[in-house]
């Protein structure tokens, strides 16, 4: 009886792990799948295999996947609304929502983990203090994008935003050597 419960849960978690759109959740589902797999091995009378599965599948591979995901797939976007006027901010809010929607679409199509941070600092301060992928300045006149020239994702993002949004978009490239912040290994 309880074995059947574990078998069915195993299949359910395998399907969830495949169908999950967010990679980070898929890794966690895979880890749970591995744990259930180890319990099933225990029921089938193979404790050696169960220990190996619990150590390798549930711990080591999950940590390796998470570290790989952390290094590669976070797309950091800094958003700065230039205007000080409260009425204008309310007006710009609609445009901001549209832009957020476009950014989320882009990130999910490229399998990136989107990270939008609101800021009030200028570009020089951001260059010196944080590491970013894109900085967006937003005002009534349009959108200013700042990013790195050799980052193909930035170029694709600029093209997507130009196609999706109906407001003037200016694309700028930051020089690599202007950036004072070096990400720590």
């Amino acid at each position: 009886m309880i074995q059947d419960f574990f078998y069915i849960t195993l299949i359910i978690f395998a399907i969830i792990a495949i169908q999950s759109g967010v990679l980070r959740n898929a890794i966690i589902y895979l880890s749970v799948f591995s744990l259930l797999c180890s319990v099933v091995y225990l029921f089938l009378g193979a404790p050696d295999v169960a220990i190996a599965e619990a150590v390798i599948g549930c711990t080591l591979s999950t940590i390796l996947y998470l570290v790989a995901l952390k290094q590669y797939h976070i797309f950091t976007v800094y958003y700065h609304c230039i205007t000080e006027d409260v009425n204008e901010i309310v007006l710009l809010k609609n445009e901001k929502e549209q832009m957020k929607y476009a950014l989320t679409k882009f990130a999910s199509s490229k399998e990136l983990q989107l990270d939008i941070i609101n800021t009030t600092s200028s570009l020089n301060v951001l260059n010196e203090s944080v590491s970013y992928d894109v900085v967006i300045f937003h005002s009534k006149q349009g959108i200013w994008l700042h990013g790195f020239k050799h980052s193909y994702q930035y170029i694709e993002l600029a093209n997507t935003l130009k196609a999706k949004l109906d407001m003037p978009i200016h694309v700028y490239y930051t020089n690599e050597r202007d950036v004072g912040f070096v990400a720590e290994e």
Binding site: D48, A50, A52, V55, L60, L64, A68, E184, E185
Partner: protein, 128 residues
């Protein structure tokens, strides 16, 4: 990556000795209970992974791990082949458990070094 999580550090630091003891137990008792060299070595290599999460630095020398692994592989091959050639089918019965324990320990240390090298290579060198 710059700020260390205090919760993770303290919890992992408390678990740290238990992982070592559990790994050694599984490795040494591989011939009498479930477990063995591979599983024990994998558990001990988790110690080095925990060390990475505590300090975020390269605190181990991969060079030495590499050499240990190669030398231990040579030792395993020589030990097994010599043992089988020496005794063959008519092994005295009291020697066999010692052979099992020694092989388990050698395989355990080798697997531990190998998995640690794989992890640190991926984390430190492959991620830039």
């Amino acid at each position: 990556m710059r700020n260390h999580s205090l919760l993770l550090r303290i919890t992992m630091g408390a678990i740290y000795p238990f992982i070592i003891v559990f790994g050694i137990y599984i490795t040494v008792n591989g011939s009498t209970s479930p477990g063995g060299g591979f599983q024990g070595g994998a558990i001990i290599s988790a110690v080095f992974i925990v060390q990475y999460f505590i300090t975020y630095e390269k605190t181990v020398s991969l060079h030495i791990f590499n050499h240990i692994e190669k030398i231990l592989y040579l030792a395993i091959v020589i030990f097994t082949v010599l043992f089988i050639f020496q005794f063959g089918e008519i092994t005295p019965h009291f020697i066999k458990p010692y052979y099992m324990v020694i092989m388990n320990i050698l395989i355990g240390i080798k697997v531990c070094c190998g998995l640690s090298v794989i992890f640190y290579r991926f984390v430190l060198f492959e991620s830039r």
